[in-house]
Structures are given as C-alpha cells and as structure tokens.
Amino acid sequence: MKSLRIIKDKVASGVMCSLTITSLLLVVFIGIGLYWKASPILSEHSLGDLLFSSSWRPFKGEFGFFPFLSATIWVTVVAVSWVLPIALLTAIFLTEYAKSFVRRYVFPALDILAALPSVIYGVWGTLVIVPWISRSVAPYFIDFSAGYTVLAASIVGGVMILPLLVSLFVEIFSTVSDDLREASCALGATKWQTTKLVVLKKTIPGILAALVLAISRALGETIAILMVCGNLPQVPHSLLDACYPIPALIANNYGEMLSLPLYESALMFAALILFVVVLLFNLFSRLVLNRMGKQLV
C-alpha cells in the first residue's frame, strides 16, 4: 500500500516535470520554427540588405524592411514618450499622495484599460482619435490628412501600455521602505522632494526595466495599431505621415503569402525580428526586476 503511494508520487513527478520542461521549451521552439521558415530569404538576401533597404516589392523579389522598421520605431518612441510622464505621475500620486478611497476607484479603472481587447482600442481609435487628428490637429500643419497616421497609432498604442506601466511603477515604488521616506520628511523635505530625491533615485533601474518591458509590449501591438496607422509602406518623416509597422505587415498579408514562397519567408523573417527584439528586451527587464527582489505584475 505504501509503495503504491510512493509510485503515484514518482509518476506524478515525472509527468509534471515533463510538462514543465515542454512548456519551457516553447521559447526555443518558437525561435527555431521562425528561423527555419525565414531561412530561405536569409540565404537569398543579406541581413543588412533586408533591414536597411527601403524598396518593398514582394512580387519582384525585393524585400526591404526599412519602412516597416522605421514605422515601428516611430510609433513606439512617440507612444512611450507621451505615456511615460503620465504613467510616472499617476503612479507617484497613487503610492505617495493618494488617500485609500482614491485608489479604490483608480485601480479598477486601470484594470478595465488592461482588460480591454486590442480590437476595442482599434475601434475607439478609428471612431475618436482618427477623426480628431483629421479635423483638429492636421489642418494646422498640412493641407489634408485622413487621420490614419503615426500620431494616431502612437496615441492608441500609448493608451494600451498605460495600465502596464502604472502597475509596474506602483509595484516598484512600494519596494522603497517607508523608513527612508520618513527620514527624508523628518529632515524638512516636502513630499515631492522626498519622492524625487529618495524614491525615484532608488528605483531608477526598476523604472528603466519597466520602460523596456512596456516598449516590448508596444512593439508587438497588432490589430489596434493596424486599424489606425494607414498601412502605407513608406518611411514616415513626420507624425502626420501614414506608416506600416511590422506586426501590421504580418497581419495584413497572411492570406497572400502562400502564393509566393519567398514572400511567406519574408513575413516569417519579420516575425523573427519581432521575436528576437521582444525576447531580448523582456530578458533584460525581467533580470533587472528579479534582482530588485520582487515578483512583478
């Protein structure tokens, strides 16, 4: 009887261990799978050619990813730069200033933002942000814009990473011990001086890591961005140009790509770029956050 229990335990252990290791290896499998599908185009064109050429003519066999790369970078940089101050101020307010009843209302609101599906943000973007840009913003700068622009994509993308950033910041700020805050206040510093010189200073690595994590999230946003970015394969030169980020490229062409083997391989290469960048960003920020000694979000 006793041995049966032990055997059960051993068997369960084996099953669980293999499930764990298999699911772990998913990271490796994704990498290998994408590389395998992308290898035809890598053997035909050089890596530099693919990344820095801006002529995108799949049916002539020219695959320059530069327009898509630059669009992705534009959208991400603009999104993060407007959302970072807002997220920081909100998180500081929530951890350092707000009374508990304020938190009771803010956290559910952030939960809702985090829970809404990407396609809902896309609908909101096309109904609110795109007409707003077309009517109220663009006329001051250029003759006409339909509103489907880098600006629209980065506003929508920014709102999407806002809840992630705020909740990461809140967690990071709460790792600073209250003793430090009290010591600073006892020396006559105001709350903001304490925040600026003690809390923010101590958590800079964490803030950076959270930022990198949010950037990697913004890089991969697909459907919402696709619905508001304009989808023109060109290198954007201003906020009011249409653009075509990498995830949108993959999503838009999934049906056509079967007709041309090299085209399919090119799109898989695009997915591979995304995978590698996101993987590196995530690894970096997780290692930093783990070192800060807290399991986050």
Partner: protein
C-alpha cells in the same frame, strides 16, 4: 520655493489622473453609444445570411459561438497543463532550484511575446503538418498563448503560500502528491482569478487566431473546420465600406466589451470574497 514646486507637481499629477480617467471614460462611452445604437436581438441570435456583408439580414452568432468554443476548449486545456506545472514549481522543486528560476523567467518572457508572433509560429507549424485554418489550430494557439498567463498569475499566489504548511503536511507522512491538495485548497481563489484573466485574454485576442482559426459564416461542426471569432468579426466588418456593416462591428465590439468587463469585475469580486479561507 519648494512649496511652489510641490503645488505644481501636485497639479500635474491630478491632471494626469484626469487624463487616465478621460481615456477610460472615452473608450467605454464610445463603445457603449455606438454599439447600443446598432445592437438588436437579431445581431446576437442569428447567423449571417447571404447579404449580410452588404447590409442585409443576419447577425454574428457565428462569431459569438466560435469565440466560446475556442475560449472554453483552450482554457480547459491550458488549466490541465498549467496546474501540474504550478505544483511542480511550488511543491516538488525547492525554492532555490535553478530549474524553477529559469522556468519562471521563461514564462515571463513567453508572456511578453506578442500574439502575432504566436500566430506566425503556429502558422508555420500548421503548414509543416499540413493543417489548414481550423477550430483545432485556433484552440492550440490560444492555449499556448494563455499558458504563461495562467502559470504566472497562479504562481504569484502560490509563492506567498507559507512553506510551514507544506512541511506540516510532509511531517504527517503525506507524499508530495498528497500535499498538492493542501496547496490546492489554499490557492483556489487564485486559480479562479487566473482563469478569468486568461479567458479575458483568450477572447480578446485577434492577431493569433487571424492566421490559425480563419473566418466563416457558419458554426463549425468539427475540429477541422474554420471558425469565426468576435474580435475578427469586429475587425472585418469595420473594414467594410458600407456603414450598415460597420454599425454591426460596433455591436460586436459592444458584446466583446461587456464580456470582458464582466470578467474583470467578477475577478475582483472573487478575489475579495473567497480569500477568507486563506491561512496567512
């Protein structure tokens, strides 16, 4: 001087809070107003008929049912895989185990990988095995997508579980497998919240199913048929030039939003309500 700075920064904080709330209200308000204008019983109770995409009769029942099929199947599969992993990480492996450390890191990374990459990967696999867009492929890719969500959020609860209780169970002569029951009872609310979170992510995901599940006007009767999903119904109908069809996208968006909001609210409720049995 420092007091003026304090005032300014406080003002900025309140402004940014208003901006955050403004976004939430704007999104919910837009979806509610546009969605309820186009909403009707027909929309959620009928399949699209012949002229649906040029503005004639029909609804998007196919997408609602399709989403439910995918979400239910992949949540069950996901739980079947992630609960054993959770127990392995928390009971079988010691807290200093290297494998547990790397496993957690890997799930964190998997969690961060965009769903479009999962979609592309699954598409490559499908071609390799000669599968076509189908319910089965959709279920598999969504399962892969939610496993890291499930494991990470359950693990967060399980890690706070006091080791002494596990040791008490071992000292009574229980095997590790039998100790699982002790942990299971303690983290049950965590499992429910994690499940709701995963369901929310699964039902809202469009990029991964775009490649794998396809789209169809009928309700699939077997695993090998393509299946429609709500996010894709919104997406495809919105890209139609006819305003009547676009209105239906808003109605579908409303249904999706309501489902997600209910999930989010009940998640909060359950965490509060069912944590009373927890030993701290």
């Amino acid at each position: 001087m420092k007091f003026i700075e304090e005032k300014i920064i406080k003002l900025l904080m309140i402004l940014s809070m208003i901006v955050v709330f403004g976004f939430v209200i704007s999104i919910i308000y837009t979806i509610l107003v546009r969605g309820s204008a186009a909403m009707s019983w027909e929309m959620i109770s009928q399949l699209p008929s012949g002229g649906f995409y040029i503005g004639k009769e029909g609804g998007f029942l196919n997408a609602i049912v399709g989403s439910l099929y995918i979400v239910i199947a992949s949540t069950v599969l996901g739980l079947l895989i992630s609960i054993p992993v959770l127990f392995y990480l928390n009971i079988y492996l010691s807290q200093k185990s290297k494998l547990a450390y790397f496993a957690r890191l890997a799930y964190d990374v998997l969690f961060g990988i965009p769903s479009i990459v999962y979609g592309a990967f699954a598409f490559a696999i499908m071609i390799f095995f000669g599968l076509r867009t189908s319910l089965l492929s959709g279920i598999i890719v969504i399962t892969l997508l939610i496993i890291p969500v499930l494991i990470r959020s359950m693990d967060e609860v399980a890690r706070d579980f006091p080791r002494e209780i596990l040791e008490a169970s071992f000292s009574l002569g229980a095997t590790r497998l039998e100790t699982v029951k002790v942990l299971l009872r303690q983290i049950a609310p965590g499992i429910v919240t994690a499940t709701l979170l995963a369901v929310g992510r699964a039902i809202g995901d469009a990029a991964a199913v775009l490649f794998t599940a396809g789209y169809t006007d009928t309700i699939p009767t077997s695993l090998s048929q393509p299946v429609a999903t709500l996010p894709l119904a919104v997406f495809f109908q919105l890209s139609s030039p006819s305003t009547e069809v676009q209105d239906r996208a808003y109605a579908a968006a409303l249904v999706l939003t309501i489902i997600v909001l209910v999930l989010s609210v009940s998640g909060r409720f359950i965490t509060r309500r069912f944590s009373k049995n927890k030993v701290k």
